[in-house]
């Protein structure tokens, strides 16, 4: 199990490898990266900030739900200034079978977006947008 908020680039290969165990037959991974276009809006970069202590607590709460079902979990979110194509988040679940891996990986990323105190400031070509707030 690994939960981390980091300023450093996310090493997806090492994190993936850490989820390979003999007792699990399937690993599902979600990688979120900085997207250039959202409809007509062009993004140039995104700055992520966090309330780190609370964010890691909230990530642990989510991971605990999945760990309690006997799976392994990796949740890493990068903060700071990210450019197009940079990886912002890595969620991985290792489970005995693929269905549980898919389902729980989706649960973790969906809930992370709702509860974990991380914020994005999106530098778009037309203006700056704060994630989560109405324009």
């Amino acid at each position: 199990m690994k939960i981390e908020i980091t300023h450093e680039p996310i090493d997806t290969e090492a994190l993936t490898q850490s989820l390979i165990h003999n007792e699990y037959g399937g690993v599902d991974i979600f990688i979120g990266n900085i997207r250039q276009f959202t409809d007509d809006i062009e993004t140039e970069k995104i700055e992520y900030t966090t309330y780190k202590k609370m964010a890691e607590k909230e990530m642990h709460k989510l991971a605990d739900v999945v760990l309690a079902k006997g799976m392994d979990v990796v949740m890493v979110h990068r903060v700071g200034e990210l450019q197009l194509g940079d990886i912002a988040v890595f969620i991985g679940v290792a489970a005995p079978h693929r269905a549980e891996a898919f389902e729980n990986c989706q649960f973790l990323i969906d809930e992370l977006k709702h509860t974990v105190p991380i914020w994005k400031k999106e530098y778009d070509r037309d203006k700056i947008r704060w994630g989560g707030l109405e324009d």
Binding site: Y51, M54, H77, K113, K121
Partner: protein, 79 residues
């Protein structure tokens, strides 16, 4: 009491703001006090939650003596 701010509130007001709270208070009192000082952020505050000691707080009464840290949590947008 010093209150931690994040996201747009931190950038425009500062990383913390000082709020006068009664010895017994509700999380909504914290938001109201900040709104009184910075009415421009009413809409953001309306959408924000309050965290007490790094936990989302229900709007129940808290004793200031038992509280170490208060933060305003604007809508989160990680991922």
């Amino acid at each position: 009491m010093k209150v931690k701010l994040f996201s747009i509130l931190a950038e425009e007001i500062g990383p913390t703001t000082e709020v006068d709270l009664k010895s017994e208070f509700y999380p909504s009192d914290v938001k109201q006090a900040i709104e009184d000082a910075y009415p421009k952020y009413k809409e953001v505050l309306d959408q924000s939650l309050v965290a007490i000691d790094e936990e989302y707080a229900d709007d129940k009464q808290f004793s200031l003596n038992d509280v170490a840290e208060i933060a305003i949590i604007p809508p989160v947008s990680g991922g």
